[in-house]
Amino acid sequence: MDTSSGRHYSLGIESTHDDFSIGVSTYQGEILSNITETYIPAEGGVHPREAAQHHADVADKVLEQSFARSRTRPKDLSIVSFSQGPGLGPCLRTGATVARTLASFLNIQLVGVNHLIAHVEIGKLKTSAEDPVMLYVSGGNTIVAAFDAGRYRVFGETLDVALGNCLDVFAREAGLHQKKGLPFGAVIERLATDGERLIPLPYTVKGMDISLSGLLTAATALLRQRKYSLEDLCYSLQETAFSMVTEVTERALAHTGKKEVLLTGGVAANKRLQRMIEEIAAEHQAEFCVVPSEFAVDNGAMIAWTGVLACTHGAVTPIEKSAVKLKWRLERVEAPWVK
């Protein structure tokens, strides 16, 4: 490989779910571009095939914009990485196909990145966190993890529905609408600010795991009864669900004795959740770090950066091993770059 001609950039492709995103980073972790196109269904949830079609439609445009924004050319790249999982099959395959094509056409290193690890690594890059307990809450994931002996380990997770998904489904049931820049979570957060009454809802913590399905069912059932205001229901849903994730995060913090908490994922943008996590961090003399929104939601930059970390530690992915892994668990991945 020719490195003398200034090939020192990493391009990362993220396509696990409804976002198609490409980021470009340097080997030092400078993010040069991070461009995302989101698939928003006219109604209902995200259909994997339709989302994948969207990703295929926008891929060349996003790629072109990424080179323009980062002021790089294809021949400046030395790594192309992609989200290899976990996520929706058709969406992952679209991103993987773009990545493989680029890698073989440019004859550069291909790196299959674990989406969950990418969230931790970009979080560490963008905050002061070095060895945090991470709470990652998004539409597809609710996970409490921390590094131990060569790998990130899952300490707690949801046994069923993800936190973001729980809020999304409730919002749809309530007939709310999301817009670009104003996702369901933000709509609920606004309504919750005007809620006053805490309606009793199921609170289910099992060890360090939580279950949100019962809470979601109960909240939607109350919605249909029309006995309570939507504001009170949003408030109660948020308070109950957030208290559950906060409790398990505190457990992981007490259990591991780590001194930082990293909050990330789409739901990390919620101010109320931030305040709760901040409080338990203070309680355990740990530093509270919240990942800036642009890098907390799914994004290509985190894949590009994790690609650098993996590639510089010899973890590249040959094409024949680049098949997507729909349910790729966090603790299956060695993270040799972490001290």
């Binding site: 996970i143 380990r153 805490l198 208290s243 790729w328």
Partner: protein, 219 residues
């Protein structure tokens, strides 16, 4: 009586804070559930009171089922405080990785049997981790911290209980997690019979498949 003096902090957990002290000529543990400011006080009061009421009942039930647990001396609902026996010994979490294979299996077998006895009596521990098990001076494993437990005979709850045990082993004793868990299940089968053990294992698999990040089979 019961004057709280010379409290020594043992552990500041997430759910409660543990102190030890001399109390009526005994060494005791004081378990206090302090208010959590992050959640609304109404919800917080409910959770703390519920757990303070249920924990001693479950600890009592466990003892009746033949599982070693600390003796409860006093419960103060208003303060959300429980005073119980201090169990000298070591947390299984601290010692498990250091044991020989034979001793490790012996410990896991005992753990499995104890879980079997709890479940046979309709008791769910709710937080089966190796930090909630103490190997005492008589070589017995004492189960503590029933704060997240419940009383039920449901297969689903029993399977979740064991799933948590498995997860705790994977995160803290990853080098031999599978062997430990298999041995725990052997002990479980000794008490509840192979048929129930098999049925529970199947349910555990079903629960794990329901999760968001279930490992695919490597082919």
């Amino acid at each position: 009586m019961g004057e709280i003096n010379l409290l020594e902090l043992i552990q500041k957990g997430a759910e409660a804070t543990l102190y030890s002290m001399e109390w009526n000529d005994r060494r005791v543990v004081v378990k206090k559930r302090f208010p959590k400011k992050y959640r609304p006080s109404m919800l917080d009061d409910q959770i703390r009171t519920y757990r303070t009421v249920h924990e001693p009942q479950l600890i009592h039930g466990a003892k009746r089922a033949g599982v070693p647990t600390p003796v409860i001396y006093q419960v103060n609902l208003k303060e959300a405080t429980i005073i119980m026996e201090f169990v000298p010994g070591k947390q299984v979490k601290e010692i498990l990785n250091k044991l020989s294979e034979k001793d490790r299996r012996h410990v896991c077998l005992q753990i499995g049997k104890s879980i079997g006895k709890l479940h046979r009596s309709g008791l769910i521990h709710g937080d089966l981790t190796t930090s909630n098990m103490i190997l005492n001076s008589e070589d017995k494993i004492v189960f503590v911290d029933f704060g997240l437990g419940e009383k039920t005979d449901e297969l689903e709850s029993r399977a979740v209980d064991l799933h948590l045990m498995k997860r705790a082993l994977q995160s803290t004793h990853f080098r031999f997690a599978q062997d430990c868990f298999d041995t725990v299940m052997d002990g479980y089968a000794d008490v509840l019979g192979p048929e129930t053990a098999r049925e529970t294992l199947q349910k555990i698999e079903a629960i794990e498949k329901r999760g968001r990040y279930v490992e695919e089979r490597e082919t």
